[in-house]
Symmetry: C2
């Protein structure tokens, strides 16, 4: 009997009505003869009593500073509570289920509190419970170090839990349930013509996630890709097949064919463009290294990096502008930082080696009268920086150009 891992986000478990939908999905997998492992996030959003943000708020009321270790201890309770609530719901439907913390599920992580990486998964306990005919509900987003320190996995942690369990359990599929029908060609709030994709390669999903599509966390995609376990992104509240994510090459019976150059669009708003200019060669005087070391030490992520002898450009999150200004002033270089940009990107493993893709992108944006301030490309994506107010228009133009 094959194993299916199903991951449900916080909104899916936050109300009795929504939990009914979750049960329907679990029951469906059980009825199809699968052994089911369920991964749940903490309930709801900020303001609700057992939401992660509420727990943190409680601690921050007392002292703004909360150490990463205690923060993880506190946050881990959110998912544990969710897992017990889910077990209760399943039992009220006559389904036999058991709740496990991340540690009990065998998730072993490193010591990076708040943003731990999974080092190993020991699936023996889950396998034993599955063999006893139980549905196993695992608290997502958490694990423990070898010596029992409780850790959390950072953003998208429950996706990562699901993917890692999928690999360790050699699952047939890891299903990521969300409130959308699957992975869309673009964000439907920006591009009304956006449509769900039937299939996607790991690489493409990974790119889209890194470029701002918030369907599933890139780390989870990478884990699934390495373990060659197919992912399926689908809606908790609808019955469509969703989007299957797998390798370009066949895995068992699953094979993804690419007939389009561009698979989808991604975007990331709220970016600031940093431009550093110098009269001296920045490579020769070592300032290139200095600049990126300063950014790294400050914990500011840089993206869309372009290095030239007398100029360095990259983008950062607008939120970190002030901090970046301050730390970069130390270099004595001419630094300007402009907020109000957005990154728009076309993604597709089909564009590899295909000539003229950039030309087609520029043409699409130009026809819509959108200026390009900066760009980067890799073999599977091209990203352009545009003014934030033009983002939606840019995405629509690119959708028309590549995905109509």
């Amino acid at each position: 009997m094959g194993i299916v891992v199903q991951k449900f986000g916080g909104t899916s478990v936050s109300s009795a009505e929504k939990r009914e939908q979750v049960v329907r999905k679990i029951k469906h997998a059980v009825d199809e003869g699968s052994r089911v492992v369920v991964v749940v996030s903490a309930m709801g959003r900020a303001g609700e009593p057992y939401a992660t943000d509420t727990l943190i708020g409680l601690a921050r009321e007392i002292s703004k500073q909360i150490r990463p270790r205690e923060l993880d201890l506190l946050m881990s309770c959110g998912e544990i509570i969710s897992s017990v609530i889910m077990v209760q719901t399943l039992r009220s439907h006559g389904l036999d289920a058991v709740a496990l913390t991340g540690a009990q599920a065998g998730i072993v992580t490193d010591y990076h509190f708040n943003n731990a990486h999974i080092k190993e998964v020991h699936p023996a306990k889950i396998l034993k419970l599955l063999d006893e005919g139980k549905i196993v509900v695992v608290a997502g987003f958490q694990g423990a170090t070898g010596d029992g320190e409780i850790t959390t996995l950072g953003r998208g942690g429950s996706d990562t839990t699901a993917a890692a369990l999928g690999v360790a359990l050699k699952a047939d599929v890891v299903e990521i349930y969300t409130d959308v029908d699957g992975v869309m060609t673009a964000d439907p709030r920006m591009v009304p013509q956006a449509k769900p994709l039937d299939t996607l390669t790991y690489q493409e999903l990974c790119e889209m996630a890194h470029l701002g599509a918030k369907v599933v966390h890139p780390r989870a995609v990478e884990i699934a890709m390495e373990g060659r376990i197919p992912l399926r992104i689908r809606s908790t509240f609808a019955d469509g097949p969703g989007t299957l994510v797998a390798d370009g090459a066949p895995i068992g019976s699953i094979e993804i064919r690419r007939d389009k150059i561009v698979t989808g669009l991604a975007h990331l708003a709220g970016m600031a463009l940093v431009t550093i200019r110098s009269k001296d060669d920045l490579n020769e005087n070592g300032m290139v290294l200095d600049v990126f070391e300063i950014m790294a030490d400050s914990g500011i992520s840089v993206d869309m990096i372009q290095v030239a002898p007398y100029q360095i450009r990259f983008i950062i999150d607008e939120q970190r502008m002030e901090q970046a200004e301050q730390v970069l002033s130390r270099t004595g270089l001419d630094v300007t930082i402009e907020p109000g940009f957005a990154k728009v990107a076309i993604v597709g493993s089909g564009m590899r080696g295909v000539p003229g893709v950039m030309a087609k992108m520029v043409k699409g944006l130009r026809q819509a009268e959108i200026a390009i301030y900066h760009s980067v490309d890799s073999h599977t994506n091209i990203a352009c920086l545009v003014k934030q107010e033009a983002m939606s228009k840019a995405l629509q133009a690119l959708h028309f150009q590549f995905l109509n």
Copy 2:
């Protein structure tokens, strides 16, 4: 440097104001040069968002039945949240503290979910943290089995955690903080003349706890007694020395002298008196065994047991009356169960071998015109069953007789 274990109940950590008082107590111990381990219960009472009862309510809303294992998983979060909140409070006062779950604190229990017993304590992690100069805040009421199942310790569990840690750490003292000034000679709500006791033997406190005094859980007292670690029961909100609980014999510098015959009074209301009569010898036909086996199998606690050839009498909780009536009807014996009784008891290791104590007790109750329906005695206590409405008057009469 000696170690002090301080236990604070749920009400002591439930509000910012009360937590300030807790910090004052901890700071005091630190200033006196002690290494401090703090044990906390879950915050507040039913209705408050992170109280244990609220967590359970949430689960029961979905399904009345909640399995002991998942109940423990859920409940353990209450104390973990408390421990992090307490660490935050201490840090906001510039005190370096670290939070540990029961499992992390090395509390190993058996597999009796909801009412687990501590089997071992591995204090290495706590000792290491204390050596680093940290205040260690442990989530009370919980532990884990050898293979990582989360358990809770049942009623009074945080007291038990504190006592067990005290023994394992060879603490100078385990301080149990409550909202009263210490152990009183009687319940001040019943006996206005009641006064705090300076000292008490383990045995006496244990008897009083078993007989209904709700200051500290008897299991905690037994653990402290076996480990010969002194307990101090004192108020979070006042500065008195409270009541020192230790051996009758000297422990280091601590010795408790008894100059009074009776140390205190205890009471237990809401009891029902069960009387079973027979024309045949109940010993000969084996019905004595039958009766007590039936009660045990039904999980009904019996107390004040008196067995005679043609009559058995004992008391049970009024709440279990109906159930007892039902299961005892199977014996075919003549069973009557009367509700509305209360047990009043005098406790004191000083009464051992002293003649005339029962006479004095009967005299005291008779002068107050209180009828005795049933009685039992041991070498350190005598308990009488009286009508519930006479309980307060009986306690006052006994207080006047023995403790004035």
